[in-house]
Amino acid sequence: MTTVSPAMPAPRKRRKRMSWWRVAERAFLYVLVVFLVVLFVAPLVWGFLASLRDPSAGVSGPPIPEDLRWDNYRYAWDGAFPFATYLWNTVVITLIATVPAVLTSAFAGYAFARMSAPGKNMTFLFVLATTFIPVSIIFIPFFWVVVKLNMYGTRWPWFIWGIAGSAFLIFFYRQFYAGFPQALDDAAALDGCGHIRTFVQIYLPNSIAPLVVGFVILGTGWWGEYFYAQLLLPDQTLPLGPKIAGGYTDPGLQIVLPAVTLAGSFLFTLPVLIVFFLLQKRLTQGIVTTGVKG
């Protein structure tokens, strides 16, 4: 028990008050969120409904078609071109460009966060700077490099993009690993680990969520990539992006069928959505560092 002379002033009580501007702030936020949801979802809904129209009717007509043409989807799958083949091409390109990139970016992020070397910060700035170079400036030199290396028409460039990592992800993982408790590194060092073992056995298993985030960010980019695929690949190894962008053409009439093209687009998007829903928990999951209290 502590007793104090009465001369000591008692601490003032603070009254709780709900201010009007807090309510207004809330209301504004809700309106903004609803607006953004409508902005993003409306085109998807419109596109989905349009994909069920009569293929010969074009894009005009009532928003909800009277006759739902589900067979547009069957036609998109095995109509004008072999959808499955191009889907497989897309999967291959996405995986060889994404999986190595996530791992090497994570390792590079670890190195930038945890290892010391002369000129490390300059190197990091250089890596970041590469993200500011527009594609339109480098694609011609890049094209010639690919040609000179005899990689034109092959999937090798995608694999090289993969092992080269992504500047954005390197930055992302560097920030993430910089927040890792240093004590984990120290404990690993005393347990006999070098850098590689520390990264593989301690860091990687504790960064599942950010690895998934990296995979999804990079993977969705490569999944829908159009420009380099169109530039470098022959038709038989093209991914779906350029194929669908070209539109489904009726073989007899030689006209583009917008409804079928939209159906194809939805089929093309479906795997991304499935992956997203499967990994959603990991994507939103907090990062597990509960074993370390500090």
């Binding site: 028990m1 502590t2 007793t3 104090v4 002379s5 000591m8 408790p181 004590a183 984990l184 120290d186 404990a187 690993a188 060092a189 005393l190 347990d191 006999g192 680990c193 070098g194 073992r197 056995q201 301690i202 298993p205 504790n206 597990v288 560092t289 509960t290 074993g291 370390v292 209290k293 500090g294």
Partner: protein, 413 residues
């Protein structure tokens, strides 16, 4: 046994720090010329306020920091340039640093597996440490499913299973609540007695230093101020810093003048004759130090010559004892050393009135003093004198074989 073998065995678990300097980029000398020899099987505590360099020194011993100058010898082997993983040490971290994705069993065995210990041997050691620390029911849990105390035990188990030459512990109790800390502190002492492995233990809590250490090294500004048994640190501090740091509540201090055969501060004049022949050596200005437990209640008016009187401002009844606070009409002693100790402590209540605050520990059951003028007796043979400029102790004090007044309450940070 050959002479060489005998020497090797002798050297096991000793740590020899030779003029160790650690300078960080930017010229900050966190460790500034530390010489320290830690015997085999000894429990050595490195203690000091935050920023004194104790943790940096521990990390240097571990090999987690490269030292700038000097040498580190562990078990007779110069490990100055040896990697942390090859130093044969195990460390318990302040935040435990358990691997979050591994079960308790894997946390304990990870280091052994990395070192390619035989599976049968690993099983033996896991069995041993789980039994020793009572982890049987926790082996398949992950760290996040453990309480603070359990995580602490797992961290200990991980270190013990390694069977290293030396244990290094970096404030391992600071994340536990006060009650648990007292229990684990006792367990740690027992564990050390049982294992007999050399242990270097870092803490900012002088109570831990006093209760755990066979010897303690008090550090300030990267230097060791005094290395000695807790008893000696308490009874015979070499300087103002050690005196102010060791002991809880802290030693009372006031600057005093010596004139006309008396020690004068505030309105008091204490006759020097009571100090004995040593008093002649004291310079004109000194800092007088009195431990709160060496102030006794005396009758007002008829008290001994060495006594002071003031109004009690705060009274803390702790059950077993009563701690009273009172102000002296003199400026508080605020050297840099003392400020560094109180960094971050909240003594704002009375410090604001710019007078020196004194604390006295009185036996429980003494009647209420709040707001009254009370006379306190000082025991001249238990007063300390320091040089106000250098902080050096001016009078050697004998180490007494009395139980140290360490309380549980003072460990709450």
């Amino acid at each position: 046994m050959t002479a060489v073998q005998a020497e090797r065995k002798e050297a096991v678990g000793t740590i020899d720090l030779q003029a160790v300097v650690k300078e960080f980029a930017g010229g900050v000398r966190a460790v500034d010329g530390v010489d320290l020899t830690i015997e085999n099987g000894e429990f050595m505590v490195l203690v000091g306020p935050s920023g004194c360099g104790k943790t940096t020194l521990l990390r240097c011993i571990a090999g987690l920091e490269e030292i700038t100058e000097g040498a580190i010898v562990i078990g007779g082997r110069d490990v100055t340039d040896v990697d942390a993983k090859k130093r044969d040490i195990a460390m318990v971290f302040q935040n435990y640093a358990l691997y979050p994705h591994m079960t308790v069993r894997k946390n304990i065995t990870f280091g052994l597996k990395v070192r390619k210990t035989a599976r049968s041997e690993i099983d033996v050691r896991v069995e041993e440490v789980t039994h020793l620390l009572g982890l049987e029911d926790l082996l398949d849990r992950r760290p996040q499913a453990l309480s603070g105390g359990q995580r602490q035990r797992v961290a200990m188990a991980r270190a013990i299973a390694r069977r290293p030459l030396v244990y290094l512990m970096d404030e391992p109790l600071s994340n536990l609540d006060a009650k648990l800390r007292v229990r684990v502190r006792a367990d740690l002492a027992r564990l050390h007695a049982q294992l007999g492995v050399t242990t270097v233990y870092v803490t900012h809590d002088q109570v831990e230093a006093m209760t755990l250490g066979q010897r303690a090294a008090v550090m300030h500004a990267g230097r060791i101020q005094q290395v000695d048994t807790p008893q000696a640190l308490y009874w015979s501090p070499v300087n103002l810093f050690v005196a102010a740091f060791i002991g809880s509540p802290a030693m009372n201090m006031v600057e005093a003048r010596i004139s006309d055969g008396a020690l004068r501060f505030a309105e008091f004049a204490l006759p020097l004759a009571d100090l004995g022949s040593e008093a002649a050596r004291l310079p004109e200005r000194v800092i007088l130090g009195v431990r709160p437990e060496h102030l006794t209640l005396v009758e007002s008016g008829s008290g001994p010559a060495w006594s002071i009187e003031s109004e009690v401002l705060v009274e803390e009844n702790l059950g077993a004892e009563v701690v009273v606070f009172f102000a002296i009409e003199a400026a508080p002693v605020e050297t840099d050393e003392i400020k560094s100790i109180h960094d971050g402590e909240s003594e704002a209540l009375l410090a604001t009135d710019k007078r020196a605050t004194f604390t006295a520990r009185l036996p429980s059951g003494t009647r209420e003093h709040l707001g009254k003028r009370v006379r306190f007796g000082l025991q001249p043979e238990r007063c300390y004198f320091f040089d106000p400029v250098t902080g050096e102790s001016l009078m050697q004090r004998q180490v007494r074989d009395e139980p140290l007044p360490v309380t549980v309450t003072s460990t709450v940070t």
